[in-house]
């Protein structure tokens, strides 16, 4: 860490990890309700648990991205952050607003929350990921504007590297792509079409640019490779993201009321969407293989190396499996999509967030890297989370296949609830996977409390062992 103002990233990272833990708890409750529909009912109906799970995901990822921006932008610009004070105020505004929104979900019936927060003036509530009441949505815009003002002013007065331009540019994109959240017409087909501007625009477009810039930054730092090479790669990768992904949005338009030409356009272009992820793997492995230094933070290296692989599996492979229109005709709206969603969000975005946290947190705590014991704990946490996520994804895929077959493909298709009962074993495996994931997360979190920093003694011990 070279600039004092980078310290403002720390509360963002800590809050991100706390909210991550909250997300997993709600995930476990939701998974339990698949096994026992009476669980916590009527106190917490499934939809409330579901929105808490997904909204916490979005908020913790945004927290991590913001923390990453406050950490990276000054370092890349080689100047102090324009206003560290504003960044800290913004943090508390965002954190308190997120907590208040969550309490609103948990303590009030959703319709009452809508009535109390002026949803009738401008209806925005009641669709996936965007369940927040109007004041929260406005708050998100204000927080984003504050972040953008701060990092853009920093960029203007400092060095303009490609990493920084892509990062700041994609955060502007993130904020702009949130604005369609305020567009919720009565015409449900138009509403769905516009909803994807936010959701697809984020996770299959803009956020991949954020991912690319964060991974590029980490790799430059831990490998010592010439930034010209890294930045060239990143430009080509994100070019492929948008070349495939812009028209690739059509894979959401097959069966929701949009014209039939999207079946062809969406199939062709979304089939190309795995390409940037394959390039990301080649890029990361090539850069790491050619590294010019041995960075003592091996845990960060593991995260940075594993992120492209898991992102490819979740976003690329599992996405590809259901993206072609004839396949999606049967797989649309099943747990196949949930399987893809889980592995893509975890592999691409949770893991890039944990990568930058792994690299930055030791520096924010005044050390180059954590002690080897702490790093081993962190890496154990990674392996448990990655493995259990794999179990959950396979189980959800199994449940999806049961639905495809029994409810969609056979001659005498069964009703929804009967099919769900026949999928029970997969929901049991999914919940077991979720429980192990929580163990992995706790293992990971505990690594922050393993004392000590990386020392030459550690280095010597490692050398003797080898």
């Amino acid at each position: 860490m070279n600039y004092q103002s980078q310290q403002v990233a720390k509360p963002y990272f800590i809050a991100a990890l706390l909210l991550f833990a909250g997300q997993i708890v709600f995930g476990l409750i939701a998974g339990m309700q698949y096994l026992d529909g009476s669980f916590l009912f009527p106190a917490l109906p499934f939809n409330i648990v579901h929105m808490s799970h997904t909204n916490l995901l979005i908020v913790w990822l945004l927290m991590a991205f913001m923390g990453a921006a406050y950490f990276i932008v000054p370092e890349e610009a080689q100047t102090e952050l324009y206003s560290p004070k504003l960044a800290l105020i913004t943090f508390w505004v965002f954190f308190v607003a997120a907590a208040a929104t969550l309490l609103g979900y948990l303590l009030l019936p959703y319709s009452k929350l809508a009535a109390m927060t002026g949803d009738a003036i401008l209806p925005t509530m009641g669709r996936g990921y965007l369940e927040q009441p109007l004041p929260t949505k406005i708050g998100i815009v204000l927080v984003a504007l504050s972040l953008l003002f701060n990092i853009t002013m920093t960029l203007i007065k400092g060095r303009k590297t490609s990493i920084n331009l892509i990062l700041v540019g994609s955060l502007w994109g993130l904020a702009l792509l949130f604005l369609p959240a305020f567009y919720f017409p009565v015409d449900t087909v138009k509403a769905s079409y516009g909803w994807w501007w936010v959701v697809h625009g984020w996770v299959e477009g803009d956020w991949e640019l954020i991912l690319g810039s964060l991974l590029g930054f980490i790799l430059i730092k831990i490998t010592g490779i010439d930034r010209e090479i890294v930045e060239k790669w990143i430009y080509i990768i994100i070019a492929m993201t948008l070349i495939s992904g812009l028209i690739g949005i059509g894979h959401h338009y097959y069966y929701t009321g949009a014209p039939a030409y999207w079946i062809w356009l969406g199939s062709v272009f979304s089939a190309l969407e795995p390409i940037p992820f394959i390039m990301l793997i080649v890029f990361a492995f090539k850069i790491l293989a050619q590294r010019r230094r041995e960075h003592p933070n091996k845990a960060a290296m593991l995260w940075a190396q594993a992120t492209p692989i898991m992102a490819f599996l979740g976003a690329g492979l599992w996405g590809f499996m259901i993206t072609l229109a004839p396949v999606q005709y049967y797989a649309h709206g099943t747990n196949f999509t949930a399987a893809h969603g889980h592995l893509a969000f975890f592999g691409a975005y949770a893991m890039i967030a944990l990568s930058i946290i792994s690299y930055a947190m030791p520096l924010l705590r005044g050390r180059t890297a954590n002690s080897l014991a702490a790093q081993h704990r962190e890496m154990l946490g990674f392996w448990i989370m990655a493995f259990s996520m794999g179990v959950m994804v396979l189980a959800l895929t199994g449940a999806g296949i049961v639905t495809v077959y029994l409810q969609r493909a056979i001659d005498n298709p069964l009703p929804f609830m009967q099919v769900q009962e026949k999928s029970r074993v997969f929901f049991e495996i999914r919940e077991a996977g979720g429980a192990v994931f929580l163990l992995g997360l706790l293992t990971y979190l505990s690594s922050f409390f393993v004392a000590g920093e990386y020392t030459y003694d550690d280095e010597a011990k490692k050398a003797l062992k080898a």
């Binding site: 319709s111 948008l242 929701t256 709206g333 493909a409």
Partner: protein
């Protein structure tokens, strides 16, 4: 190769590619916008349909159900529920929740008035006539 292919070229491919496909997407969206009202019979969006949709959203029905495959996968598809079950069943079902059957997935009772339930049914009836390219594959959704 490295000397031939510069970072500036990579950046231009990014900006050019993104700009080109963004323009194409916007043109397609303009065209789609003209066709959607015909495909979903927007002329049949009555005040009752609009009220029903508002109730549908402010009670977060899609937090459990899907509509044309979008939403959560905890409860049945509602895009075609009007055709699958008919209006009388839907009304009776909403009123009789929760079933309270132990272990079975529970739907809350939202304490709707009869008029509100009529509005919800009007919305679901409108949904059931959208041209979704023949999705779902069968009536079970």
């Amino acid at each position: 190769m490295q000397q031939v292919f510069t970072k500036a070229m990579a950046r231009n491919i990014f900006l050019g590619g993104a700009g080109f496909f963004l323009v194409i997407y916007l043109a397609l969206t303009y065209d789609t916008w003209q066709r959607i009202p015909i495909r979903d019979h927007a002329d049949r969006i009555t005040p009752a349909v609009a009220r029903g949709k508002y109730l549908f959203d402010t009670n977060d029905c899609m937090g459990c159900h899907t509509v044309n495959g979008e939403g959560a996968y905890f409860a049945p598809e509602l895009g075609n529920v009007y055709k699958r079950r008919g209006p009388d069943f839907i009304k009776a079902w909403i009123l009789s929740q929760p079933t309270g059957v132990a272990g079975r997935r529970q739907m809350p009772n939202f304490h709707f008035t009869n008029d509100q339930i009529d509005d919800l049914v009007a919305y679901m009836q409108w949904l059931s006539n959208i041209d979704t390219n023949n999705w779902p594959p069968n009536i079970q959704g």
